[in-house]
Symmetry: C2
Subunit: 552 residues, 2 copies
C-alpha cells in the first residue's frame, strides 16, 4: 500500500495544490487522439466494450437473485449485458461492511494509494468506458470520452484530494504538554480517522461516471464501503468501475466487496430500500427532484448529498459580440441535446430587443441569430450527431413534441445518424415566451428545449432570474451585457440566489461545462443541489476522528 | 474592520496553527487569580453581575411580547432578571436577516476581526460572566470561571479559527489559463463565501456559554445571523453574550440584530417553532436526546448539529496506581456533581476484583477505595462545595433519592453551603450493579450517580462497553489497565463504538475535561452527538462558495 501511495504521491500533491489555487490543472488528457493515447487504444477500447454486449458481466453481488439486462443504447440497440439483480439487501450490506476494518487500518495514505491506483486502471480503460458511456447516456463519442472519461477522472481525483487533505489535517499522534507550576502535564494523543459506515451511490442515466465517481471515491478513500446503485439504463460504465475497484482492492489485500454493484430491474425501488437501512450512513444521489427531496428528508441516519435539477438561466442585456454570443448559446443548447443538468434553458431578454456590436437587435432578430448559429453548427448531419448525441429517453421526445405546439422560434429537426439508423437524434428548439409564462419556464424541461422569454427590461429579467432560481434552483447561470452596472447587478443576484455565474461567454468556454479543480459544480445554495463537486463540506462529514490519550 | 482583523491577526494565526498541530494552546488564562487579572477584576465582575439582579436586561428582541424572569440560582435564590419574551418569530427572523447583506460584504477577514473583538470584550467581562454562569448552572465559581469563561473563550476561538481556515482555503479570485493549440483560454474567476441564512443556537442549563459559543461564533463568522435561544434557567450568560455581540457589531457599523436573544417562558417551545422556519438554515443544539433527535429529523431545511447525552463508561481491569485511580475517579464523579455530559457513569469491573500495585482488590474494596477518596475530597464542607457546585434542577435530587433505594456502595450526602444556606449541594453516590442490570446502566442518570457494574471479566466489560455506547452513545470513555493487550482491545472497542478514550488517568487530568485545540469534544460517531467541537465538518457546511467567471 505504501508503494501505491508513493507511486501516486506526486499526482496527489499536484491535485491538492490545484484545489487550493483553483488554477488550471488536469491529470487525464481529454483528447482521444492517437497522438496522446497511441494508435491501438481506440480500437482496443471499442473491442473491449463490444465484447461485453450480450454477455453476463463477471461481477458477484451478494444477496443477488438472477440477473437483469436493462440497457438500450440511445443509438438504437439493446446492450444485452446481464448483471446480478440485487435482491436481499441484508447480505449485500453485510458483505460490504465485512472488509471495513482492514480498510480502516490502511489509513488515509494507504487508502489514497489504492484509490489513485483505481483511477490509473480506469484511465487505462478510458476508451472502453467512453464506449460504455456513449451507449448508455447517448453522449457522442468525444463527449463520452471527455465528460465520461478524462473529466470524470479529474473530478474523482479532486474528491480524493479534498478528502485526503481533510483526513490528514489532524496529526495521527501528538504530545500535548500543558505548563504548570511544577512539572508540565504531558499527554500522548492518538487521532484515528473512522469511516461512517456504508455509502450508497445512486447513479444517473446521463452521466453515469462523472456524477457518481466524486461521491464514490470521496466515501471510499475516507474508509467507507460503497454500494453502487446504477440507473437501470446506464449500468455498464459503473459495472466496469466496480470491477476495477474490486480488482485493485483484491490485489492490495483488501476485501473486493468494499465496492459492490447493486443493479436492479427498473421499478425495483432499490435505492429507496437501501437508503433507509441503518447501515447506510452516506448517500450520494444524482437525479430528479422528487426522489432527491425524499432522500433529504427520509434518510436522517445518513449524510445525504444530492444533485437534482433546476432551471438554468441566461440574461441577455446587450453584447459587444453578437455573433459570438449566438454561437456560444447555440453550442450550449446543442451539446448532448441539452440533456445536461448545466444546460441553459431560460433566456431572458427585453421585449424591445438589445444593443449589440451589430446594431440594435429585436427579440426576433436575436432568435434568428441563434437559429442561424444552430444551422451552421448542425446543418451537416454527420457533424451534428457528434455534437448532439442521442436522445436518452422516449419521454424527452414526447416533451419535445409537446413543446412544438408552442410559439416556435426555431424548430427541432430529426437528424439521421450516418452509422446508427435507429438512433434518436434531435436538434434543439427555441420557443418564445413572455414573463407571464412562469408556469412553463419555472420547471425544468430536460432535453433540447430552450425558451426565449421577453421581459419588460433587464431589471425584470434579473428579478425573474432571482425568483426562479431561489424557488426552483439552478446549476448554472450566465449573462451577456456590456454594462458594468448590469454585470454587477446580475453578479449580486446570482450570489443571493446561490448560483454560479458565467459572464459574456464566447469562443470555447460554455456555461454547461465546469473545470475540475477550478470551477465548483453546483453550489449547494439553491434547491438544485445541496452539495458541490468538490469542497470541504463535500468530504468532511464522510468520516469522524476518534481520539485516545494517555500520560507520558 | 481591517483594523480589528489586524489587531487580532496574531491570535488567529496561533489558533489556526494549534488546531492543526493539536499541541497545547490557550489564549485565555484559566486562573482567576488577582496576579493574572488584577486586584480589582473579581470584585468589579461580581458587582457587575449583581447589578443585573432584579432588573430588566437592556436588550430588545424584535417581535417580543412582555418579559420573562425564569432564572433561579441553584444556590437558592431567584435572579429576577427580566428579558424580552420572544413571541412573534416572523419579525424576529426578519430583523436577524436584515443585516446579513452588509455582514456578508465584510468578508471572512472582516467578520473574523469583529468576532475576535467580541471574544476580547467577553474576556474583559469574564468575572461577570463567571458569576452569571455560577448562578444559573450551579457550577462552583472557579469552574464557572474556567469552563464558563476561559475554556469557553478558547472553544469559541477554536471554532472561529476552523471556520476562517475553511472560508479562506479558496482564493477570492484567480486567473485560470488552459493551454491550447493557439492562445490559451484565460478566465478570471471570483469565489464568494455566502452564508446559509439564520442560525439558531439552543443553549443548555449546565454550560450556557461553553456549549453555545462554538456554534454561535462558527455561524456568525461565516456570515449568518444568529438567534440565541437560551435555556429558561440559564439566560443571563447568553444575554451578556448577545449584548457584547451587539455592541461590537454596532461599533463596527453592522446591524446589531445579527445576533438576537430569544428568551422564553419555560414551556413556550420556542426552539421547536424556530427550528421549523424556512429562514433557519443552521441549528446548534445542546440538551436531551428526545428533542435532539426530533431536531435531527424534523428540520430538514437546516444543517443540524446536536450534542445530546450518553452513558460514559470506565473499564477497570487493573492498575499500577490504585490510590491515583480512586482519586481520579472520585474527582470525576464529584466535579459539578457529575452534571456534565462528559462525567463517567458506568464503571465496569470484574466481579472477582482486580490486580493493583496495592495487591488484589475485590470489587467491594475498589468501591471502598473510591469511597475513601470521595471522603478525602469532600470531607470538608467548605472545600466540597467548591468542587460540587449546586444541583441544577429538582429532578436531579429526585433521581438521586430514587437511586438511594438501590444497592448503595457509597451514599450521597447533603452538604450545607457556608455562604448560601438555601443551596442544594449533594455528594455523588456509587451503586452496585451487575452486567444483568442493563435496564439501569443503559440510560443516562444525569447528576451525582455512578454505577460500579460487576462483570464476568474484562472481556465482558469491553463487550458491554461497546454495546452500550453503540446503542446509547457516550461523550467519554476511560480505561484502567496495566496490560498492553487489554489497552489495545479497549482502544479498538472505543474506535469501533466511536468514543474518545482516556487511558489510566491520574493526577490532574480528568476524563470529563477536554482541552480546546487538542481534544475533540464529542466524536459525532455515536448516538450522543452528531458533531464535534471543532473539526472541519463542524464549520464547512455553515456557508457556501458561489463563483462567477469571465474571459480576460
Amino acid at each position: 500500500m505504501q508503494e501505491l501511495f508513493d507511486r501516486h504521491r506526486a499526482l496527489l500533491d499536484a491535485a491538492v495544490a490545484a484545489c487550493a489555487s483553483r488554477e488550471y490543472f488536469s491529470a487525464f488528457d481529454e483528447s482521444p487522439s492517437p497522438r496522446v493515447y497511441g494508435e491501438e487504444a481506440a480500437g482496443a477500447g471499442r473491442a473491449a466494450y463490444e465484447a461485453w454486449l450480450g454477455t453476463e458481466f463477471p461481477l458477484t453481488t451478494p444477496g443477488a437473485d438472477g440477473t437483469v439486462a436493462t440497457e438500450r443504447s440511445p443509438y438504437g440497440f439493446d446492450l444485452g449485458v446481464r448483471y446480478p439483480r440485487a435482491a436481499d439487501v441484508g447480505p449485500l450490506l453485510e458483505a460490504a461492511r465485512a472488509g471495513m476494518h482492514a480498510w480502516r487500518l490502511a489509513g488515509p495514505d494507504g487508502r489514497a494509494g489504492v484509490c489513485l491506483e483505481i483511477l490509473a486502471r480506469l484511465h487505462a480503460r478510458i476508451f472502453e468506458l467512453a464506449n460504455a458511456v456513449q451507449h448508455t447516456s447517448g453522449q457522442a463519442f468525444v463527449m463520452a470520452f471527455q465528460a465520461g472519461g478524462a473529466h470524470a477522472l479529474d473530478r474523482a481525483l479532486e474528491a480524493i484530494a479534498y478528502a485526503w487533505t481533510e483526513m490528514t489535517r489532524t496529526p495521527e499522534t501528538v504530545v500535548w504538554e500543558k505548563p504548570g507550576r511544577g512539572e508540565p502535564l504531558r499527554m500522548e494523543k492518538t487521532f484515528t480517522v473512522m469511516p461512517r459506515g456504508v455509502a450508497l451511490v445512486v447513479g444517473c442515466n446521463t452521466f453515469p461516471t462523472w456524477n457518481s465517481w466524486p461521491g464514490l471515491f470521496a466515501s471510499l478513500v475516507t474508509g467507507n464501503a460503497v454500494v453502487v446503485k446504477p440507473h437501470p439504463a446506464a449500468v455498464l460504465p459503473l459495472a466496469i468501475t466496480v470491477q476495477v475497484c474490486q480488482e485493485v482492492l483484491a490485489e492490495a489485500g483488501f476485501d473486493p466487496n468494499l465496492v459492490v454493484l447493486a443493479a436492479e430491474e427498473d421499478g425495483d425501488k432499490l435505492a429507496a430500500t437501501l437508503a433507509r437501512r441503518p447501515e447506510v450512513r452516506i448517500i450520494d444521489f444524482t437525479g430528479g427532484n422528487a426522489f432527491g427531496e425524499w432522500l433529504e428528508t427520509h434518510a436522517p441516519q445518513a449524510v445525504v448529498f444530492t444533485e437534482k435539477a433546476g432551471v438554468n438561466t441566461v440574461i441577455v442585456d446587450s453584447t459587444a459580440d453578437f455573433a459570438g454570443m449566438c454561437q456560444n448559446l447555440a453550442f450550449s443548447f446543442s451539446l448532448y441535446s441539452g440533456q445536461m443538468c448545466t444546460a441553459p434553458q431560460n433566456v431572458f431578454l427585453p421585449a424591445a430587443g438589445i444593443e449589440t456590436d451589430d446594431g440594435h437587435k429585436s427579440a426576433a432578430e436575436v432568435a434568428a441569430g441563434i437559429g442561424a448559429a444552430l444551422d451552421r453548427l448542425l446543418g451537416d448531419d454527420a457533424r451534428a450527431v457528434e455534437l448532439l448525441g442521442g436522445i436518452v429517453a422516449p419521454a424527452i421526445v414526447d416533451r419535445l413534441e409537446r413543446a412544438g405546439r408552442g410559439d416556435v422560434l426555431v424548430p427541432s429537426r430529426e437528424v439521421p445518424h450516418p452509422s446508427y439508423p435507429d438512433a434518436t437524434v434531435r436538434t434543439p428548439t427555441l420557443l418564445r415566451l413572455t414573463s407571464d409564462d412562469a408556469d412553463t419556464y419555472s420547471t425544468e424541461c430536460f432535453g433540447p428545449v430552450a425558451y426565449l422569454i421577453e421581459t419588460a427590461d433587464t431589471d425584470e429579467s434579473i428579478a425573474l432570474f432571482g425568483l426562479t432560481v431561489e424557488r426552483h434552483g439552478a446549476m448554472t447561470a450566465s449573462v451577456y451585457s456590456t454594462s458594468d452596472k448590469v454585470l454587477g447587478q446580475v453578479r449580486e443576484a446570482a450570489l443571493e440566489a446561490g448560483v454560479a455565474l458565467s459572464e459574456n461567454l464566447h469562443g470555447a468556454v460554455f456555461v454547461n461545462q465546469s473545470a475540475a479543480f477550478s470551477d465548483f459544480h453546483g453550489t449547494g445554495a439553491n434547491p438544485a443541489a445541496n452539495a458541490t463537486y468538490t469542497d470541504g463540506a463535500y468530504v468532511a462529514s464522510r468520516f469522524r476522528v476518534v481520539q485516545s490519550r494517555r500520560h507520558v
